[in-house]
Symmetry: C2
Subunit: 322 residues, 2 copies
């Protein structure tokens, strides 16, 4: 039996616990597991227990570290530094450590700096999430068929890679090996830039005095583009702060795009605008075509609510002019 400690029992930590405990020991590449859970917040631990995400609770990081063969650090990104510092003095030789953070370069540097050579580290980032956070939103199927980024270097012990890869497969995900810097550059464009655009849309529109009237007209287009703004602010803050280099590039690209489009609209350059719109449509449609399905049982990757309609609750009919 393999003992796995999960440090941080939020959405991802608790979902991993549920997925690991649900896996059939006869079919899982990890075999039988025991999941030890630790979180600074007793409320979170209770909720994780309630979701059957852990076998038992550790009352300190030391207690969690003492018996584990695998330690999964599932805290927000910036807390990982502190957790790894403490673990460095606690972990017995041979323990394998991994994390689940959305940025990888800084975390991998911390691991190299802080952890003793007797401990192996493989960075991880499951490409799975939800708007809602906490163990209450945890789902043992969250990782099913998901791509799970893993970082490893020539210095990483082959056995550590095998064990973490088995863990990824045990929760139903697919390992995808990638360089930490490359990972951060890519997700800056396809994950963190969309987050910033969502937040920017809500920040700019909701700050105007006319927001109430605008909000009455806003429908599914606004809803979809703004969706990521409803995520967990602390997690998002850490993501933005630990990927400054990757983000700066995409922010600059986006500003350049907006300046170009503003000029095209001002000068009424119809051919340039139409070409841009056609190229974007072609690129997105090709991308969608490459993703014909979601997880088993889930709706089409393409299936989106398509009717733009604001609700009428709270709607006041303005006096009509005649």
């Amino acid at each position: 039996m393999i003992r796995i400690a999960i440090i941080g029992l939020g959405l991802i930590g608790a979902s991993l616990g549920m997925a690991l405990r649900n896996a059939d020991p006869k079919e899982s590449p990890l075999g039988a597991v025991e999941v030890i859970g630790y979180d600074r917040e007793p409320r979170v631990v209770r909720a994780a227990r309630g979701r059957l995400a852990i076998d038992r609770e550790a009352h300190s990081l030391a207690e969690a570290a003492r018996e584990a063969q695998i330690v999964i650090v599932a805290t927000p990104v910036r807390a990982i530094h502190e957790v790894l510092s403490e673990l460095a003095t606690l972990l017995p030789a041979g323990v394998i450590v991994t994390d689940v953070a959305s940025t990888k370069a800084q975390v991998c540097r911390w691991a190299a700096d802080l952890l003793p050579a007797t401990v192996s580290f493989v960075g991880g980032h499951p490409m799975a999430g939800r708007e809602r956070s906490g163990p209450e939103a945890a789902d043992p199927d969250l990782f099913r068929e998901a791509i799970y980024c893993l970082t490893a270097t020539s210095a990483t012990a082959p056995q550590a890679i095998e064990v973490v890869e088995a863990l990824v497969r045990a929760v139903g995900a697919k390992p995808y090996y990638i360089d930490p810097e490359e990972h951060d550059a890519y997700v800056a464009g396809i994950s963190h830039l969309p987050l910033l655009l969502s937040v920017g849309l809500v920040t700019t529109t909701s700050a105007t005095p006319a927001w109430k009237e605008m909000a009455a007209l806003a429908a599914t287009g606004f809803r979809d583009v703004s969706r990521l703004a409803s995520g967990d602010p602390q997690m998002q803050r850490d993501i933005l702060l630990t990927n400054p280099h990757g983000l700066a590039r995409w922010i600059d690209e986006m500003i350049r795009f907006l300046v170009t489009v503003r000029e095209q609209i001002n000068t009424g350059d119809a051919p340039a605008i139409e070409q841009m719109l056609q190229q974007a449509k072609a690129a997105r449609d090709a991308w969608l075509d490459s993703k014909p399905h979601l997880r088993p049982g889930e709706a089409d990757f393409n299936a989106m609510p398509t009717v733009e309609r604001p609700s009428l609750l709270g709607f006041r009919f303005p006096k009509r002019e005649k």
Copy 2:
């Protein structure tokens, strides 16, 4: 019986035809109607007939205008100028003209300039749409419970307002009277800015040499924020070109936002970033709370696919480093 001519049988024109023809004459505020359809493209007319969107076809604008009491111009925005110019010489006195364009100020100016005083114009904009276009995507329920913006001035004949309002209610929508300039300023923020951000996300990311690798990692966050980039390029082009003033303001606001965030990320200003993220989440969550339902029978306005997962078709496992 009221004869209604629909000029342009794309998604909105054909959906209006279907909705008008489906309405029970005993319950509809318009009573019995006959729908005459015209489109420059014979292929589009055939498709609209196939969807039972029209009672009969007109073979020219003149034929459509000759008998109609209400004319709905449902062409892309910039074609409306030409259509109104032609209609001006064709329409008998007393005819009521309306449109369905996504921008209203310029269309209302065209109508005032071009149409004779014997013809009434009330601008319209149903807050309803789909990604797919053309009569093939038409839906008689597209406008059910939708907000339908209407413009009218002190010069508009009260009877024209009553008739267009009856038309809006006949297709199941809710009239919302608004000044054309105000309309354009509002939709620039909640509809055209999201469109530009969607297009900008796809344009910037898909232009990079690493797009193929990035695309493999892109999941539902990217999909949702980029969704509007899959719309009809010609319709979008016209929308952007006929709302330059409204858009310029929001493009500038968005650039200011991105410059501010870039600085906050560069200097590692965690409190400012967290405050921004918290305010955006609060604003969006409050907006969502004000929209608890979509159309009858449709899923929750809140219900979104939440699991981020790219498909694995075409996925190649990179060689792992050891």
